[in-house]
């Protein structure tokens, strides 16, 4: 009897462990089975999920109120668009540059402000976002195309094969999301991931144990910005264009809200938050203004009734 129960329990655990990989395999069929509008919605979901997870590193894990995260997403998108359209670099060649430039800008912008207390840091990051959008709109380097942005971003090539279909981009975006999810999981079981949480919970205690708070806070920005930059490249390719409107302050607010509403430092929470904030509005496009009304109400209700988020982090050991 007990053995049978244990056997059933074992099978159940096995089934649960197999569920994840099975869903990923099933996902391979999406571009074949679903209509192309759905394929592109799911592709965009993967891109925004990467950005939201990168926001979660800074906000949900390291505990810094970064409300200008769209800047790093935008930097990645603009770097790819500029290098591809003006200098004719292949998309994949622009990618590492997009990541590195976004990360370097993350370091440069965060270095002077990481010692600020939460609320002051938040206001400073809003300032960065406003300046970034202004700079892009005003075509400061003669490269960003002004308020209309840049059109005609090409498609990525693997050897001579062009990834031009929605299906091919879907696979690419989800492959990147899978890699970022692996990185997030690794972070949970690593010194860096733990230190971020120590700093969030009690910075003084962490520093008396030898943690260089400044270094790790800047590192959180660098990693978060680099991943957002990687998503920026995908975004430029997906839309075949970039414009300042995609990276405005309200986008940063949405990313911030995704992490809080979904669940800080919770991977399923952030994914669920992304789906609610970016995908559901796409699906209910017909309802126009009402969807924002519904979202506003939903955000308020979640914060009042469930301040830890819809799907909070599981509190268990590493």
């Amino acid at each position: 009897m007990a053995a049978a129960a244990a056997g059933r329990g074992g099978r159940l655990a096995l089934a649960r462990r197999a569920l994840g990989p099975l869903m990923w395999v099933a996902g391979l069929a999406v571009p074949i089975v679903l209509a192309s509008s759905w394929v592109s919605i799911l592709a965009i979901f993967a891109i925004y999920a990467v950005v939201a997870l990168s926001q979660d590193i800074v906000l949900g894990r390291a505990g810094m109120y970064d409300m200008g995260h769209a800047v790093y997403f935008g930097v990645g998108a603009y770097v790819t668009a500029i290098l591809n359209t003006r200098f004719h670099w292949p998309i994949f060649a622009t990618w590492p540059v997009a990541i590195v430039v976004a990360a370097v800008i993350g370091v440069a912008l965060s270095a002077p402000i990481v010692k600020l207390r939460g609320d002051y840091l938040l206001v400073a990051t809003i300032g960065f976002n406003i300046i970034f959008v202004l700079a892009m709109s005003n075509d400061v380097f003669g490269l960003t195309g002004g308020p209309d942005g840049i059109f005609g971003v090409g498609v990525p090539h693997v050897l001579s094969l062009a990834l031009s279909s929605q299906g091919a981009l879907f696979y690419l975006d989800w492959l990147v999301l899978a890699l970022v999810l692996l990185i997030m999981r690794n972070l949970e079981r690593s010194r860096v991931g733990r230190v971020f949480r120590y700093l969030k919970e009690d910075e003084l205690a962490a520093t008396t144990l030898g943690v260089d708070a400044r270094y790790y806070k800047i590192l959180a920005f660098a990693i978060g910005a680099g991943l957002a930059g990687a998503a920026g490249t995908l975004f430029a390719v997906q839309l075949a264009s970039v414009s300042p409107g995609s990276f405005v302050f309200t986008e940063s607010v949405t990313l911030f809200a995704i992490v809080l509403v979904g669940g800080q430092a919770s991977i399923p929470g952030v994914l669920l938050g992304t789906a609610l904030m970016f995908v559901v509005p796409q699906v209910f496009r017909g309802l126009a203004q009402y969807r924002y009304f519904a979202f506003g109400i939903a955000m308020i209700l979640v914060m009042v009734l469930r301040p830890q988020g819809i799907w909070p982090r599981r509190r268990s050991g590493p």
Partner: protein, 262 residues
Amino acid sequence: MSGAALLELHDIGISFGGLRAVDALSFAVDEGQIKGLIGPNGAGKTTVFNMVTGVYRPTDGRIRFAGEDITGRSPHRVAARGIMRTFQTIRLFAGMTVLENVLAGQHLRTRQTWWQSLLATPGQRREEAELVERTLATLERLDLADVANEVATALPYGMQRRVELARTLVADPKLLILDEPAAGLNDMESSALNDTIRGIRDAGVTVLLVEHDMNVVMNVTDSIVVINFGRKIAEGTPGEIQTHPAVVEAYLGQDDDEEVAT
């Protein structure tokens, strides 16, 4: 019993606005010693700790540790020299397990780089396994192994104190600074604490402690410094301190119901 001076304070002082919290304070903690720092409430004991650990920068004077000037160094650099501390009000990482909390004490020993952390390289995984193993051994020593996977801040108060202690011990400090370790403990827990503190010293760690519980102070320390209004008023063995006129006056004149002797 005691060797050369490990920690030396030379005429240190600090002012907050117009208030002179600590003034021209000098004393030394010898290697292998358990040194007590006592004084009436508001005498400046925790302020002294905060200056030694780099949380406050003294306005004057020098602090030397293991022959090196550490005055005004930031807390993480002081920690890296081998000084660890606990806090008067326990400071555990909320929502994290006992194991995760105590792993923090291994931070300085950890070698993995940030990119190894992100990529979970084989070397990184091996190191993580070693860190967990070492941490579990320390938890075992402090009778906390059973609660390793419990959320630390949900444990009873006395246990939380032990978790905080475990977090510093796992770092193998040269000097351990304990800020009122017996605060909030019952009689049984506080006499167990005496044994724990002696055990720590016997394992080669020098201890400096601030404590109100005279049972702890008089029983475990080798030497005591008494301060009042930020100044040293006496220094000596527990026996000498109990009968020292300036100490008796400071405590009785303070209208403090604390007894000097037990």
